[in-house]
Symmetry: C2
Subunit: 211 residues, 2 copies
DNA sequence: GTCTATAAATAGATAGAC
DNA sequence: GTCTATCTATTTATAGAC
């Protein structure tokens, strides 16, 4: 008889966090199953409530973890001494790295944008907004320096950001559908390095003052 | 006693369609409730199964309706006689008009991109892909004509499209959160005309050959 | 075409033993 | 910290009367 594999005792909290992040990314908040999260983390469902209180509480932790990391790095870049173009390049690298380090980040953020931020509390919303504020500062700096056009910072932010989010979300789509749907043969997955160059070039093209 | 308002008999099918489109957009496929759809359409739940067979069948109809409309208009533009820059401008107007005419289109498509197209059958996937193919043809045309840079058509498509989708999805976020979250005061809603100009300008900036 | 009633499965959450 | 058992509400779907 095969003994059921067990995690070492005491590390159930991070195991639940990981499993929840993946489940929320895969199915969205409402469709995510507390039972499925517990199974994936190989813990009892009651442990989830012991550590996090509720499904909502668990979701908020995942969101805060995301925006803490992204927010801190974005603010650091915005407050640095570099020229605006360099800062924008660095921010794109940051977002790509965070999306790669937390694969659940792009799907979750896309879903929240799609649902009107339905499951986001005021505090988390403030963290989301702080990221925008920092990027807006960089765009305004570039406009003061004369290197950027007089674009609308908000509309420009929401042109660059979703492109990054969708790139990562799309990688999964392509990988899975290419097996069965021949019409998607043209859409080979792209390399991350190639995408960073594309995105940096796109952002510069969007913002650079015409001559 | 107040008599319950009734729809005229016989038009339950379109009423269900409308209600379903909104429910799918608001909550996503998995979290959408057949009961809620029936209530919203003011029909009995059994009617939904009578007309559409299943929740999945209803969802597929909503998807097909979306991509039929977008696909036909996109193909017509791509096959027309205009220069590539004009075609791209026209396509952006098309997408904005379709998103305005079908408010459920941007949220549903964003969710599918976020979930890896989990609920999309092969046929619908082909329709989605046909839109990309037509836009790719326009980009290739512009490159042959010498007006567009040698960008990757796929990465460029997925830079322009999500910006349009998110703009509409975001309008709802802003409208609702601005009431309660003061930190979002900076993010006033934008006018659609203003957005079209921004998006056409962005697409041209992305693609125009540098001098 | 339209309705009621209900089946059968699954959801989030909790009490209480260990 | 960890587990079993269970409560209650909600889910998709169907059978059958009208």
């Amino acid at each position: 008889m095969v003994k059921k594999l067990r995690r070492p005792r005491g590390d159930s909290r991070p195991a639940i966090f990981q499993a929840a992040a993946h489940e929320f990314a895969l199915r969205g908040y409402d469709a995510a199953g507390v039972d499925r999260i517990a199974d994936k983390a190989r813990v009892n469902k009651a442990m989830l409530y012991y550590h996090y209180g509720s499904k909502q509480g668990l979701y908020v932790e995942v969101l805060h973890d995301m925006f803490r990391a992204v927010g801190a790095r974005t603010r650091a870049i915005a407050q640095g001494p570099d020229a605006a173009e360099m800062k924008l390049d660095a921010w794109i690298v940051t977002m790509v790295e965070e999306a790669a380090a937390r694969p659940w980040f792009p799907p979750i953020m896309l879903r929240e944008l799609a649902s009107g931020a339905a499951h986001i509390d005021a505090e988390t919303f403030g963290m989301m907004n702080a990221v925008f504020m920092a990027v807006r500062d960089v765009i305004l700096q570039g406009q003061r320096e004369g290197t950027f056009r007089e674009v609308d910072p908000l509309l420009t932010y929401f042109t660059i950001l979703p492109a990054i989010l969708i790139f990562f979300a799309r990688q999964r789509v392509v990988a899975e559908k290419r097996k069965t749907v021949q019409s998607f043969a043209a859409a080979a997955p792209r390399e991350v390095d190639e995408f960073i160059r594309h995105m940096q070039g796109s952002a510069r093209a969007l913002l650079r003052r015409q001559t």
